[in-house]
Structures are given as C-alpha cells and as structure tokens.
C-alpha cells in the first residue's frame, strides 16, 4: 500500500520495475535484431512477390494502352 506522502507509484523504483539481470538483458538484445530482420525480410519479400504477381498476372494481361 502506497504511503500518503508518495506523489505516485513511480516515486519508488521498486514499485514499477522488475529486477533484470544484466546478462539476461544482453542475451535478449543480441537476439532481437535477428528476429526483426527475419520479420522485415519476410514482409518485404511477400510485398515484392505480390507486386510481381499483380503486375505480370493482372496488369500486363489486360493489354497495353496508348
């Protein structure tokens, strides 16, 4: 229970943060970019493939205009 003279719970660090070991933090930060790159790569690859499918499968078969 918060004391009445605390302006908020954030006034006491132990009330708002979990204790994180430095080694755990380093391990997580080492792995995160790899996962982010994989996610970005898959998303952009899907976009490129989708664009190529629409361009060659829909746009070009509809015939050139001039």
């Amino acid at each position: 229970m918060a004391a009445y003279d605390d302006p908020s719970a954030a006034a006491r660090p132990e009330a708002i943060s979990d204790p994180v070991l430095e080694a755990d933090l380093e391990r997580v930060l080492t792995e995160v970019p790899r996962g982010a790159l994989a996610l970005c790569g898959i998303a952009v690859a899907l976009l490129l493939v989708s664009w190529l499918v629409v361009y060659f499968g829909v746009f070009l078969p509809r015939g050139p205009i001039g």
Binding site: L29, L37, V44, Y55, I65
Partner: protein, 181 residues
Amino acid sequence: MASTERDILRTELRWAVVVAGVVAVIIVVIVASSLAMALHPPSGVERIDPATLHLEGEFVEGNLGTQVGADGSVTARLVAAQFSFVPRCIAVPEDQRVTFRVTTPDVIHGFLVAGTNVNTMVVPGYVSQVSTTFNEAGDHLMPCTEYCGLGHSEMWNMVRVIPQSEWSPDENGRVTCEIPG
C-alpha cells in the same frame, strides 16, 4: 552489450541495400516491360470548345459511336455528360486496336473500361484519347469514375467486344451494339 552503435548502423545499411534492391527490381521490371510493349499513359493534349462541341465538329450526335476508317482503324467517339455517356453502348472488334476519343460539355468525368487498363479523366475543354486492344469477346462495364454530381452513380455505359466473325461495319463504316442475326 552486443548491439553497439556500430552494429546497429551496419544492420541498417544492410537493410537499406536490400530495400534499394527491391526498388531497383521494380523499376527495372517497369522500364523493361514498358519499352518492350510500348506501354505509356495517354498523354496527348487536344483542346475543344465545350460550349459548341454538340453543334459542330467531331462530336456532333450523328458522329458519335464506333467508326471504321478508310484505313481500317477503329475509332469510338463518346460524349460524357451529366449523367450518361452517349451512346450508351460501344461496339468494338476483338483482336483489333481501338481508339476511344471522349470529351464532355459540363464537368469532369472518369472514363474506365472494367477489366482493361483503359482509365482516364474526361475534362471539359479537352479531348481524352486512349487506345487499346480487346482480346476476348464479351461485355465490359464502363462506369464514370469521377464524382460528377448527384446522378454520378447512375452514369455507366457498356463496351461490347464483338468477335471478328461477327464484326460487320455498314456502308458508312459504323458499327452499333445490335449484332445481326
């Protein structure tokens, strides 16, 4: 910590190269196919007086519709006006280049033939021209695609692609949507 500033910068640069490669692939595909198939958007600028187009010249009522020229070229002329296209149905041949010429006496309209790449704006004071070839017989919806007033949603037309075996212009080179027989 494993992810230093330098590591992050290197990762970002590598990703930038990947994205630049994707953009380069798209540009190469567009440029190569445009050159190979002579693709280009309609870009001619041709003026016409919207106040008198129904009285004289190319867009008088009797000259609207599909016309086969002396050289065999097919031209379809339309007037887009609030809230219909004239004529209501355009007959075009299969597997033959067709040129649409459209103008309007009132406000901006949109000219789109569904299922094709024909898509342009029709602006008062100008003639919009688009050429294309239809490879399959059948009907295409041709709605106005630019909001032109309260009746906009009722403004639509048909393009009827007629097989070459049934394509028979009359003695004046005119073809309408009524198929003989």
